[in-house]
Symmetry: C2
């Protein structure tokens, strides 16, 4: 073994060691993806014909041009219905322990079925959405290729959407480059922000690959969170009083893009969000300089957005059930 190769192995071990010691892990690009299923799922994700109106698609509220969110406090649904809660980003959502703020869907596939049939969101039914897709020759062909003959149903549709969503990860953020050994990838200020993030306790909940998404925590541990939002979190699922205001910890990946913040979308200011979290979760008043540094660190979590051609949807035919936007 030469001196050079020993050195390289030494540096690599050091780098692997240092990643292992950090409470945040870098994102790996998606693997083990069924490409044909992903392409089909991408079309369905962008297809407003899954809604009763023919106007709302998954991408309407989880907009892949805007960090996988709608950047609104709460979403707009069928007939301009005002949604009850902030739309979480679809980016890196495959890393979540469960889906929705209250974790009521166990995975991406189960989540995908929710909004389609929610009267305040896409306002369709699984039966109607299925009959729409079944009527479209281009989809019939593609489903047959991916799932086999006569396999268009809610199960296959949501499987395809989930397969596409699994690819919506954002590797190669400056912070991940730093984790992987490029010590120039973040600035001294950003690094100081990371140290504060760790030392203040933020990392207790915001950790792992997604810097969140791996546990439920009470919103307002030290101090009550002031909001007019009616969501009660996990308690709505478990009906346990102790789960009141327990919400899934949101990912901080791409947080610069996923404003406004919190389950009620109360603030568009990342600095204000950091200060509120410090106060109500950690009982800590950050100085102006401290919250500036933490914000600087958080902005290093913006990774490479998934890049793909805007999909072209197969056209409806005369027999396709018609959208009913105004009925």
């Amino acid at each position: 073994m030469t001196f050079k190769s020993t050195l390289i192995i030494g540096l690599l071990s050091l780098s692997v060691l240092s990643i292992a010691q950090e409470p945040i892990q870098p994102i790996k690009p998606a693997s083990n993806i069924n490409l044909a299923m992903m392409e089909l799922g991408k079309k369905l994700y962008f297809d407003p014909r899954l809604s009763k109106s023919g106007f709302i698609s998954c991408n309407s509220c989880h907009n892949l041009s805007m960090g996988g969110t709608d950047n609104l406090p709460t979403s707009i649904g069928h007939k301009w219905n005002q949604g009850p809660i902030n739309a979480p980003t679809v980016l890196n959502s495959s890393f979540n322990i469960a889906q929705f703020w209250d974790g009521r869907a166990k995975d991406l596939k189960e989540q995908a079925g929710g909004p389609i049939a929610n009267p305040g969101e896409m306002a369709s039914t699984h039966a109607l959405a299925t009959s729409v897709i079944k009527s479209i020759p281009g989809y019939v062909q593609e489903f047959e290729l991916v799932f086999g003959k006569d396999k268009i149903n809610a199960d296959s549709m949501t499987s395809a959407i989930a397969e596409f969503e699994k690819t919506l990860v954002t590797p190669h953020s400056p912070f991940d480059q730093w984790l992987l050994g490029d010590k120039e990838a973040i600035s001294a200020k950003e690094l100081a922000g990371y140290e504060l993030f760790k030392n203040s306790g933020c990392v207790g909940c915001h950790n792992g690959v997604a810097v969140g998404g791996s546990s439920y925590q009470k919103m307002g541990i030290i101090k009550k969170f002031q909001t007019s939002n009616k969501a009660i979190g996990l308690a709505g699922v478990t009906h346990k009083d102790s789960d009141k205001f327990m919400f899934k910890v949101p990912t901080l990946r791409n947080i610069e893009l996923t404003y406004p913040y919190f389950h009620d979308g109360a603030t568009t200011s990342l600095k204000e969000a950091v200060n509120i979290m410090g106060e109500i979760q950690l009982g800590r008043q950050f100085t102006d300089d401290e919250s500036d540094k933490i914000v600087a660190f958080l902005k290093t979590l913006t990774g490479n957005a998934p890049a793909f051609d805007l999909p072209q949807l197969p056209p409806s035919v005369a027999e396709t059930p018609k959208p009913e936007p105004f009925k």
Copy 2:
């Protein structure tokens, strides 16, 4: 000159001659495009922050996944407002003599300003849209590169959107391949449909590069068009009684994708649309076989959709005027 090159020149002349004799010309790919301006315009086209709600973008109603339309009879606007008329396709709209069904905008740039400030569509104002875009650091940089310093205004924004829209042409349809000399590009049935299209008089209005878009014609020349739609066409612009029900002839390019048809979006069946046109514009009752053939021909007008990566929009900052979806 060899025999072979003489033969090739001879065939080329023949091909040029035959195109010149046809009333429809092939689409050429867009040229003379300012790429930086196009890229900026693409972002603006997909940006819902140009609307008051933060939810509606140009692409909401002129959806580039769906033939540049919303595939609805009339569009959905701010607070679910029901639009008065069918959204025309943005594809190949650069070939139109003017924009909107009644031609009230002289070009793409003038058109782009309309929906942004229309209370029933995007419901913003040019002043508000400008202040939103001006507040976004990523846009400020990009406008400076394209237009120079401090040049963010309605004029530059609509110029950029129009530059992007100029690229939304769909060359290389089977029919264009046929026009350019590939006699195998369309079937005998499709060719028979084209002959009927020419011989029956359809081509009197639907001609040129866009197979329409080059003149205004009365909807219902021979027989009144039955509709509950209140649009009066060109008369709304000129205030001349003789212009009542004069509409810009729509392009038939990609007609398979741009259902439902007519300014009122009355039918999703292309065959029914052909039959109605025969009856009310030409006083002609097509046989079942004839309208089948014409439909087969019309489907050869579907060209290559513009292919591009879904754009990534620069994020708002705390100072950006907030969307007001529910006010």
